[in-house]
C-alpha cells in the first residue's frame, strides 16, 4: 500500500520531467499508476471482502505519535474503486480531452497524480495523523488545481475559498482527532472505533470532526466553495469534486460511524445538516443554466444525502450509504465527463445555447442518460437500488419520519434536475439553431461509458454489488438488521416513494412555477456565499484594526510598555510573598543623604529641561552623583570608572548637540505625556530599587562566591585587588567578550561615520567601494 502511494508521488515527478516531450500523453502515463493500484486491490478483493484487513506500518516519529499505519478494509476497498478506478478513467479521459500542445499539462498531471496518491493514503490511513497528512495534502492539491496558473480572478478567488474552508475543517478535525486519541489512549482509528471512548471531551471532539466533514464534503453552510471550484478543468472537477475529494468528508463520517453512530452529538448535526444540504443543493441545481454548475449543486445535494445516510448510524442506513457512495462516484464522474465532452466539442456548456446535441451524438446521449437514470433512481441501475434501501432505512417511525420526508423531497428535486440536464444538454430546442458538434472519438467516449456502464452492471447484478458493500454495514453495531440489496423489494413504502419521486420530479421540472416563487424569498442569512465573504472581510478588518491600534510605531510607547511590564512583574512578586527586612536602615553614612537627593533632583530637572544641553547636563548630575555614592561606599575604582564614562559621554554629547537646535524641537509632544511618562518611569524605578533592597535582604547566607574570590585572589591570581582578579583572571572570558563588544561598537561607529562622509562627498555612490557602484551604474 505504501508502495502504491509512493509510486503516485514518483510518477508525479517523472511526469513533470517529461512533460515537455510527452505533451498531453503525460496523462496516459499518470493513468497507469491508479490503474495498477486498482488492479492490485481487486486482485486481493476476496480476502478484503471476507473481512481480512491488511495492515502496513511505517515508523516516522513514534516519540510524538507520528507513525503511519495503513489498513485496507471494506470501506477503503469501496473508496479505492472510486479513487483509483475512476481516477484511472479520468486520467485517461484527460489525455484525449487536453488539446494538443496545451500548456501546463505537466503541472496538472503531476498535481493530479499527487492528489490520487494522497487520496489513496487518506482512505487507507488507520492512524489519525496519517489521515490528517493526506487530508491536508488533498486540500493543497485542490487549491493548486482550482487556481491553475492563477491568471483569472475567479480562479484565484475560488481557489482561496476552497483552501480556507477546507483548511478550517482540516484543522478542526485535527483538534478533534487529537482529543479523541487522548481520550481513548490510541492513535489507531480502528482501535478507537472498536472501543469508543465517551465523555464531554469526546463530544467536543466529535463535533470538531463533523466540522471537517461538512467543510470537505461541502455541506451547508460551507457548500459554496464547491460550485466555485468549477473553474477548474472539467476532468479535474470530475475527479476531485465529484468522485474523490469531496467524498473524503463522507468517508470520515463512515469511518467513525461504527463507533459513534449512537452519540447524539455525532448523528444529529450530521443528519440535520445533510438533509438541509440535500434540499438546498437540489433547489439551486434547478436554477442553474451552466451544465457544470448544475452538476456541482447536484453533487452538493447528493453529498447531503450521503451525509444523512452515513451519519444516521444504523445498519440499514449504512448499507444504503455505501451503495450510494459507490453509485454516486460512478454516475457523477460519468456526467462530469459528459459535460467535458460537450464543452470541448461544442465550445459551450450553457443550456441556453445547446441544441440538438443528442441527435448529433447519440452515443454520448445514451451514456449520459444511463448515468442520469442512476442519479434519478430509475431501475435497474445501482442508484435505484441504493435509494430504495435508503428509503427503507428510515421507515421505522419516530424522528426517522422527518428524515424520510426530507430525503424523499430531495429525491424529487434530484429527478427534476436530472430531467433538466437531459433536456438542457441533448434536446433539440425549437427556438435555437443546432449547435455544431464535432463527433467525439473513442478516447473521449470510452471513459464516459465505463463508469456509466458500471452503474448498470452493479444494478443488474445486485448480488455482485452486495458482495462489495455488505462488509461495511456488517461492522455497524447499531440499528436493526438491514435487508439485502435488491432490485425488487416488493410493494411497500420505499417503492411508493421511488415512484413518487419520479412523478413529483417530472412535475417540478414541468411546472417551474412550483418552486420559482421561492426565489428571493429565502432569508438572506441562508446565503452562505455572502457569509463567507463577510467573514473574510471581517477578518481583514479586525486584523487592520488590532494591528493599527497596537503597532503605533513610536519608540517611547514601546519603551513605556516595557517599563510597565517591569513594574507589573516586580509588583506581582512583591505582593505575593516577599518578606520585609527585619530592620530598615536609611543610610550607612550621612553623606549618602545629600548625594541621593542630588541624584533625584538631577533626574527630576532633566525631565523638565527645555534645552537639550540642559537635559544632558542634568542627566550627568545623576551620573556624577552616583559616582560620588560609590566613593562613599568605599569603591574608588568603580567611582573612577564612572567619572570617566560620565565625562566622556558628556563630551560626546556636547559635540553631537552642537549640530542640533538648542531647544527640543517637539516640545509640545514631549510635554503632552510628560507626567504619564514620568509616572511610568518613576514607578518602575522605585519598584526595582525596592526589589533590590528586599531581595538582598532575603539572602540567607553570605555569597560563597565573593568570599572565595577574596580568598583565592592572591593565591590563584596573584592579585591583591579582588576586582582585578575577577576581571582578568576568574572571569577573564567575560572581559574578552566585553572588549569584543567595544571593538564592534567602534567599528560600527566608524563605518557609519565614514559612510556619512563619503555619501556627503559623493552623494550618488555607495560607501564601500566606488568602483563597485560604478559597475552597478554601468550595468543598469
Amino acid at each position: 500500500m505504501l508502495l502504491a502511494i509512493a509510486l503516485h508521488m514518483l510518477v508525479a515527478v517523472i511526469v513533470l520531467l517529461i512533460a515537455r516531450r510527452a505533451g498531453r500523453w503525460v496523462f496516459a502515463i499518470a493513468a497507469a499508476v491508479p490503474a495498477v493500484t486498482f488492479a492490485w486491490v481487486m486482485s486481493g478483493s476476496a480476502a478484503t471482502l471476507a473481512g481480512d484487513a491488511r495492515v502496513e506500518t511505517l515508523s516516522w516519529a513514534p516519540k510524538i505519535g507520528l507513525e503511519s499505519v495503513l489498513r485496507l478494509d471494506v470501506l477503503s476497498f469501496v473508496m479505492i474503486i472510486l479513487v483509483s478506478g475512476v481516477g484511472a478513467v479520468v486520467f485517461a479521459f484527460y489525455a484525449a480531452y487536453a488539446k494538443p500542445g496545451e500548456r501546463g499539462v505537466g503541472r496538472t498531471a503531476a498535481l493530479l497524480s499527487v492528489f490520487a496518491g494522497a487520496m489513496l493514503g487518506l482512505v487507507l490511513a488507520d492512524d489519525i495523523f496519517t489521515l490528517y497528512v493526506f487530508w491536508e495534502l488533498t486540500t493543497v492539491c485542490s487549491f493548486l488545481l482550482v487556481g491553475g496558473d492563477g491568471v483569472s480572478r475567479a480562479a484565484r478567488r475560488s481557489a482561496v475559498q476552497a483552501l480556507l474552508v477546507t483548511a478550517i475543517g482540516g484543522l478542526a478535525m485535527l483538534g478533534g482527532l487529537v482529543l479523541l486519541a487522548e481520550a481513548s489512549g490510541t492513535y489507531r482509528i480502528s482501535e478507537i472505533v472498536a472501543n469508543p471512548p465517551s465523555g464531554a471531551a469526546v463530544n467536543v471532539a466529535l463535533v470538531l470532526l463533523l466540522v471537517g466533514v461538512v467543510t470537505k464534503s461541502a455541506q451547508v453552510p460551507f457548500h459554496p466553495w464547491l460550485p466555485g471550484a468549477m473553474v477548474a478543468p472539467t476532468p479535474v472537477s470530475a475527479y476531485l469534486h465529484a468522485a474523490a475529494m469531496v467524498k473524503a468528508g463522507v468517508y470520515l463520517l463512515a469511518r467513525f460511524a461504527p463507533g459513534f453512530g449512537d452519540v447524539p452529538a455525532w448523528w444529529v448535526p450530521a443528519v440535520v445538516l445533510g438533509s438541509l444540504t440535500m434540499l438546498i443543493g437540489g433547489y439551486r441545481a434547478l436554477r442553474e443554466t451552466d451544465l457544470k454548475t448544475l452538476l456541482a449543486y447536484g453533487t452538493v445535494s447528493q453529498l447531503g444525502f450521503l451525509t444523512v445516510l452515513m451519519g444516521a448510524g444504523t445498519r440499514a442506513a449504512a448499507l444504503a450509504g455505501i451503495t450510494l457512495l459507490l453509485a454516486h462516484g460512478l454516475f457523477k464522474s460519468a456526467l462530469f465527463l459528459v459535460v467535458g465532452v460537450i464543452d470541448r466539442q461544442t465550445g459551450t456548456r450553457d443550456i441556453r445555447h445547446l441544441s440538438g446535441v443528442g441527435r448529433q451524438s447519440p452515443a454520448l446521449a445514451v451514456f449520459a442518460v444511463l448515468a442520469l437514470a442512476s442519479m434519478a433512481g430509475l431501475p435497474p441501475l445501482l442508484g435505484f437500488v441504493g435509494k430504495e434501501t435508503a428509503f427503507e432505512a428510515f421507515t421505522y417511525g419516530g424522528t426517522d419520519t422527518f428524515v424520510l420526508v426530507a430525503i424523499a423531497l430531495g429525491s424529487v428535486l434530484t429527478v427534476a434536475y436530472s430531467i433538466r440536464f437531459v433536456w438542457g444538454a441533448f434536446a433539440t430546442k425549437t427556438d435555437l439553431p443546432d449547435t455544431a458538434v464535432s463527433t467525439p472519438g473513442i478516447g473521449l467516449l470510452g471513459p464516459v461509458a465505463l463508469p456509466a456502464l458500471a452503474g448498470l452492471v452493479f444494478g443488474v447484478a445486485t448480488p455482485l454489488a452486495s458482495t462489495v458493500v455488505d462488509g461495511y454495514p456488517a461492522a455497524m453495531p447499531f440499528g436493526p438488521e438491514a435487508s439485502d440489496l435488491a432490485l425488487w423489494h416488493g410493494i411497500g413504502v420505499p417503492l411508493g416513494l421511488s415512484v413518487l419521486a419520479l412523478v413529483g420530479g417530472y412535475l417540478v421540472y414541468r411546472y417551474p412555477a412550483s418552486w420559482q416563487w421561492l426565489c428571493g424569498r429565502l432569508p438572506s442569512a441562508l446565503n452562505a456565499q455572502r457569509g463567507y465573504e463577510r467573514a473574510v472581510t471581517g477578518l481583514d478588518d479586525v486584523a487592520h484594526k488590532v494591528t493599527g491600534r497596537l503597532q503605533v510605531g513610536s519608540l517611547p510607547a514601546y519603551l513605556g510598555v516595557i517599563l510597565v511590564a517591569v513594574f507589573v512583574v516586580a509588583g506581582v512578586g512583591m505582593i505575593s510573598d516577599t518578606p520585609l527586612p527585619a530592620e530598615w536602615r536609611w543610610f550607612d553614612n550621612p553623606l549618602q543623604v545629600p548625594l541621593a537627593l542630588l541624584v533625584l533632583a538631577g533626574a527630576w530637572a532633566a525631565v523638565f529641561a527645555h534645552r537639550r544641553i540642559t537635559a544632558v547636563l542634568f542627566a550627568s548630575v545623576v551620573g556624577y552623583g552616583i559616582a560620588a555614592l560609590f566613593i562613599v561606599d568605599g569603591g574608588p575604582d568603580l567611582a573612577l570608572a564612572q567619572f570617566l564614562v560620565e565625562s566622556l559621554t558628556l563630551v560626546v554629547f556636547v559635540f553631537v548637540l552642537r549640530r542640533f537646535p538648542a531647544h527640543f524641537s517637539n516640545l509640545k509632544s514631549i510635554r503632552s505625556f510628560r507626567f504619564g511618562k514620568l509616572a511610568v518611569a518613576a514607578t518602575a524605578g522605585i519598584l526595582v530599587s525596592l526589589a533590590g533592597v528586599l531581595y538582598s535582604g532575603a539572602r540567607t547566607e553570605s555569597p560563597t562566591a565573593s568570599q572565595e574570590y577574596a580568598e583565592r585572589a592572591v593565591s590563584e591570581a596573584g592579585a591583591s585587588n579582588v576586582v582585578n582578579a575577577i576581571i582578568v583572571d576568574f572571569r577573564a572570558f567575560d572581559t574578552v567578550g566585553e572588549i569584543t563588544v567595544l571593538a564592534v561598537a567602534a567599528a560600527g561607529a566608524a563605518s557609519l561615520i565614514l559612510a556619512a562622509q563619503r555619501s556627503a562627498r559623493r552623494p550618488t555612490e555607495s560607501d564601500e567601494d566606488s568602483k563597485a557602484s560604478k559597475r552597478k551604474e554601468a550595468s543598469r
Binding site: W60, A61, K63, I64, L66, E136, G147, D149, G150, V151, R156, V160, L164, I168, G175, V178, E182, L539, V542, H544, T547, L550, Q551, G553, Y558, L559, I562, V566, V569, A570, V572, M574, D577, G692, Y695, A698, R699, T700, T704, A705, E716, D729, R731, A732, G737, E738, V741, V744, A747, S751, S766, D767, E768, D769, K771, A772, S773, R775, K776, E777
Partner: protein, 515 residues
C-alpha cells in the same frame, strides 16, 4: 572533547579579528568565513553525537571550578541548536557572498560585513553553551553589538532611524538584563546557572516569582513576546534580506532558548505559568493578525515570526515532556524555515524590485524555481503536513490536550486558529504575488540602499544557499524520528535538571583538585 564546546565560540571570534585585517584580500576573507562556519557545523554535529551518547560536556574556563569561574556546558538542547544555527549561518553567509559578488564585484572586500557577521555567530554560539548568567549577558551583548552594526550598514538615513528603534529597545533590554542579574546576585550570591538552581529554591516564593517573571520580561523582549514585540516588525524589515534572515532565524530564538534554559533550570514550575500560556496565545494571535494586515512582504514575515514565537512559549508554558519536546522541535523547525523564507523573499524582491505584495504579480510564472523555494517553507510555516512545521505542531497540540486544563484547551485552540491565519496570510501572498501574469519589475529606487535591489540579477550561490536551507527544512521530514528522539531526551533533561547540576557542580571537586 571540551574543545568541541569552546571552538564554536572562539573560532569565529578569532576569525573575525583576522577578517578585519584581511580587508584587502576579498577572496581570502570570504573563504575564511565559509571555512570557519563549515567547521562549526561539523563541530556541532560531532558534539551533538557525543552529548547524546555520553551526557553533557562541561568546560570550566581557566580551570576555575564552578561556581567561581565561568562554566560552558553543552547538553542536548544546546548542541542541537548549535548545529541548526550553524547550518543557517553558513547558508546565509553563502547567500550574502553571492549577493555581494553580484552587486559589487568579485574584488570588493568588506570592512564591516564579514567581521561583524562572524562576531554575531560567536555570540550566538556562546549564548547556547554558556552556563553562567552573566556570561549569557556577555553573549547577548556580543551578538547584539554585531547586530547593531549589521542593521545600520549600507542604508539610508530613514532606515537608520528604524534601526535605532531596534538598537534602543535592545539596549533597554540589556539594561534590564543587567539589573536582573544584579537582583539575582543580591538574592542568591551566585550567577552560575547550576548553582542558582540550588540557591533559588531556598528563597521565599515571592522573590522566586519576581525573579522568574523578570527573566521572562528580559528574554521576552529578545524573543518578541507580545506585548514586548513591537520593535521587531518595525526594525527587522529595514535590514537587507540575508541580515533579516539571520536575525529572524536566530536572534529571537536565542531569546527563547534563554527563556527555556533559565525557567527550567533555575525555577520550579509555578502555578503562575498560566501567565506564559496566556501571553503565548496572545503572541500567536496578535502576530498572525498583524501579518494579515501587511502589504510589505518583509513586515508580513516579521509578524509571522512574532506569531510563531507564541508556539514555543506555549510548549514551554505547558511544562510537560511532550510540550517541551514540541517547543524544541518548533525552535529547530522555525530557525530553518523562517531564515529560508527571508532568503527566498530576498530573491523575490530582487526580481520584482518591490517589497509590496500587491505590487508584485506572476512570480511563479516568471521564476518558477524561486516560487518553489518560497512555497515550501511557507507551507511548512503554516503547518501543512508533512513539512517540519506540522511535525512540531503535532507535538504541541497533543501536549495541550494532554494538559486538559481549560486554559490549555484555549491555548491549543489559539494555536489551531493561528495555523489557519498563517495559512491565510501566506496563501494571500501566493495568490496575489505569485499567481497571475508577470509584471514588469520596478526600477531600483536607491542604489545605495541594500534593502530593495531590483537588479533582476541573482547569482547561483544565492539560489544554492536558499535551496540548501530549504532542503535542510525538508530533511526534517525524513529525520523526524531521530530528531524527535533527541528532542524528547533533551526535554527530559530540561524537566529534570539534576544531571545538569551534577555535571557542573559535581566536577568542581575534581577540577579544583587539579589546580
Amino acid at each position: 572533547m571540551t574543545a568541541l564546546v569552546t571552538l564554536p565560540v572562539l573560532l569565529p571570534l578569532l576569525a573575525a579579528a583576522l577578517s578585519l585585517m584581511l580587508t584587502r584580500f576579498a577572496t581570502i576573507q570570504r573563504l575564511l568565513g565559509l571555512i570557519v562556519l563549515l567547521l562549526i557545523v561539523l563541530d556541532a554535529a560531532w558534539l551533538l553525537q557525543v552529548v547524546d551518547s555520553e551526557g553533557p560536556v562541561v568546560v570550566q574556563l581557566g580551570g576555575h571550578a564552578a561556581p567561581f569561574g565561568i562554566t560552558m556546558i553543552a547538553d542536548r538542547l544546546a548542541a542541537l541548536l548549535l548545529l541548526v544555527s550553524a547550518v543557517v549561518t553558513l547558508s546565509v553567509l553563502l547567500f550574502s557572498i553571492g549577493q555581494r559578488i553580484t552587486d559589487y564585484g568579485r574584488d570588493t572586500s568588506s570592512t564591516a560585513f564579514h567581521p561583524m557577521y562572524l562576531v554575531l555567530c560567536s555570540g550566538v554560539s556562546l549564548a547556547y553553551v554558556s552556563g553562567d548568567l552573566f556570561n549569557l549577558f556577555v553573549a547577548f551583548e556580543i551578538m547584539l553589538a554585531a547586530s547593531y552594526v549589521l542593521i545600520t550598514r549600507r542604508t539610508t538615513a530613514s532606515r537608520i532611524r528604524a534601526g535605532m528603534t531596534y538598537v534602543i529597545v535592545s539596549l533597554a533590554a540589556s539594561l534590564l538584563f543587567i539589573t536582573m542579574i544584579a537582583l539575582v546576585y543580591a538574592a542568591t550570591g551566585t550567577v552560575n546557572l547550576a548553582d542558582l538552581a540550588d540557591k533559588m529554591g531556598a528563597l521565599p516564593d515571592g522573590i522566586q516569582l519576581g525573579l522568574s517573571l523578570l527573566m521572562l520580561v528580559v528574554f521576552g523582549i529578545k524573543a518578541a513576546m507580545v506585548p514586548l514585540h513591537f520593535w521587531l516588525p518595525d526594525s527587522y524589515p529595514t535590514a537587507p534580506a540575508p541580515i533579516t534572515a539571520v536575525f529572524a532565524g536566530l536572534l529571537t530564538k536565542v531569546g527563547v532558548y534563554a527563556m527555556i534554559r533559565t525557567q527550567t533550570l533555575v525555577f520550579d514550575h509555578m502555578e503562575s505559568w498560566t501567565v506564559l500560556l496566556v501571553l503565548g496565545s496572545l503572541t500567536m494571535i496578535v502576530g498572525a493578525l498583524g501579518a494579515i494586515a501587511q502589504d510589505d512582504i518583509n513586515r508580513l514575515l516579521s509578524f509571522l515570526l512574532v506569531s510563531h514565537i507564541g508556539f514555543m512559549l506555549f510548549g514551554l508554558a505547558l511544562f510537560n515532556e511532550l510540550g517541551m519536546t514540541g517547543a524544541i522541535l518548533y525552535v529547530v523547525h522555525h530557525i530553518i524555515v523562517q531564515a529560508s523564507l527571508f532568503l527566498a523573499c530576498g530573491l523575490v524582491t530582487r526580481h520584482t524590485g518591490t517589497v509590496s505584495v500587491n505590487g508584485m504579480s506572476g512570480v511563479a510564472k516568471a521564476y518558477p524555481l524561486i516560487a518553489v523555494l518560497f512555497a515550501l517553507p511557507a507551507l511548512s510555516l503554516a503547518g501543512i503536513p508533512p513539512f517540519s512545521g506540522f511535525i512540531a505542531k503535532i507535538a504541541l497540540f497533543q501536549a495541550g490536550v494532554q494538559e486538559a486544563t481549560p486554559i490549555a484547551y484555549v491555548a491549543t485552540g489559539a494555536a489551531i486558529l493561528t495555523s489557519l491565519l498563517t495559512l491565510y496570510a501566506v496563501g494571500r501572498v501566493w495568490v496575489v504575488s505569485f499567481w497571475g501574469e508577470p509584471s514588469t519589475p520596478h526600477p531600483d529606487p536607491d542604489p545605495t540602499d541594500e534593502l530593495i535591489v531590483g537588479t533582476r540579477v541573482t547569482s547561483r550561490s544565492m539560489t544554492t544557499a536558499t535551496g540548501g536551507l530549504v532542503a535542510a527544512g525538508l530533511l526534517i521530514i525524513f529525520v523526524a524520528g531521530p530528531l524527535s528522539g533527541i528532542s524528547e531526551r533533551a526535554a527530559t533533561d530540561l524537566l529534570d535538571p539534576s544531571s545538569y547540576r551534577e555535571v557542573v557542580l559535581g566536577d568542581s571537586a575534581i577540577a579544583g583538585g587539579g589546580e
